[in-house]
Symmetry: C2
DNA sequence: TCAAAAGTGTTGGCATTACACCCATGA
DNA sequence: TCATGGGTGTAATGCCAACACTTTTGA
């Protein structure tokens, strides 16, 4: 009898595919594997994360990062990429595994071991409406509400990782448009690191790195025009940035 | 019928507890969650890893890192700690999550998503004989044979992580006995980083850090006696070491 | 003409590197 | 006495942080 219930739950999982299990089945015999994705972008000069409103279960109504069960045929990275492209128009620029959370009770509905990813997208892109969630929003990372499950910890991990990587990789390119002014670049760094940087030192360092190509165009505005640059290489690299 | 087989497999899993699933069941509906632990020590001046010989399945006879399925009641960390203390006498000094591997096909027996951990132990301690594996050995990390599954990648990840952490944490204490000479400490760093360090600069830096307490005792040998030191704090800390 | 952002060099301090000789011991 | 590792200081270099004024534009 317990076995029959377990089998029923298993079939239901297969059908619902990426959805998290609906209720803790007393017959669950081993943890489910899932992914959760922290999708970050810069919007209106702020670092924002894509969150979805949980539709069912004890956490209904709370915000959480989008996620779902890992399918039999796909790798973890594929599962994360699937979540990413289901939520955003473009596939996203960058995706990296963060860490894995597996405390019993982290998800009240079932025993789920979830691998967290973080992703960068250039501009907050179309967000596909989804019947899976009650709502979707881009919220400022520095003023997130309490999130469902253990997603507060995931948010912290994502921000920590991003901060660390900004200083020794060229990942920022994933948060900027193709052409940008040095001031834009600096602003992204300051917003994410949470501290001011010296403009002269910053420009010296960045330009000396040789990662940027100066364009012939300028950006005009109500101020002195700014020279525009683009990243010579738009792919992830280890580089001393700060 | 498929459902019945699935339930049977699930019950079998619960019974075998930590053992990996024996054969890919055609009815497996979602991936299993597992942990693998890279247990490292310094022995005879070399960095060594604990490996076990796979007893069954297509990889039988090959070496792999010890691991097993995550139980319903335990966290990932607990599962890793359980593997660690099942293999070594002392619980081990340090345990940290590395990353998670989940490619389909990484384990030919079943679909397994495995979270890798790395652990440091002070001296290669008793290794509990286990019916689970055909053999157990400490092998030099720099000359590992080809490992089973995707454990080559896990080994690389563990070594990379350890190298990185040595320079900005005090984790070395986990690889050293309570009292040691500065030469010992330097040797550990050189062995793991794979390069020579200048002795005078090394001593200056380490002693200036204030992390070590000089003991009144000396170590005698066929050479000039060496002053002995101990770490003032034997717990993981972020500290600039090199 | 004003407000607002863009652009530009120099200096001092600190940290890192490179480097060579004497010492104490057991065999 | 010899082989082996233990112990020590200085000088040159490079890196980073601090710092203020002029320029260009649109409103």
């Amino acid at each position: 009898m317990r076995a029959a219930a377990g089998a029923r739950a298993a079939r239901a999982d297969r059908r619902r595919s990426t959805a998290a299990p609906r209720a803790a089945s007393p017959t669950q015999t081993h943890p489910y594997a899932a992914v959760d994705v922290v999708i970050l972008t810069i919007d209106a000069g702020e670092l924002k994360a894509l969150v979805v409103q949980v539709r069912e279960g004890p956490c209904a109504g709370q915000w959480a990062f989008p996620g779902g069960l890992v399918q039999m045929h796909e790798s973890l990275d594929d599962a994360a990429r699937r979540e990413l492209s289901a939520r955003t128009g473009l596939g996203g620029i960058y995706l990296e595994q963060l860490c894995t959370f597996g405390d019993p009770g982290r998800d009240p509905r079932a025993r789920v071991v979830s691998t967290a990813y973080f992703a960068l997208v250039a501009a907050k892109d179309m967000v596909a409406a989804s019947s899976k969630y009650a709502g979707v929003a881009w919220l400022p990372v520095h003023a997130l509400p309490r999130l469902a499950y253990d997603h507060d910890a995931i948010a912290r991990a994502a921000l920590d990782r991003l901060r660390a990587k900004l200083s020794y990789t060229n990942l920022v390119y994933g948060l900027l448009p193709d052409a940008f002014a040095l001031g834009d670049l600096q602003e992204v760094y300051e917003k994410i690191l949470g501290r001011r940087l010296d403009r002269r030192n910053f420009r010296k360092k960045i330009l000396a790195s040789g990662l940027l190509r100066r364009l012939r165009t300028q950006r005009r505005g109500p101020h002195r025009p700014a020279a525009l640059y683009r990243f010579a290489q738009r792919r992830p690299m280890m580089v001393e940035m700060l």
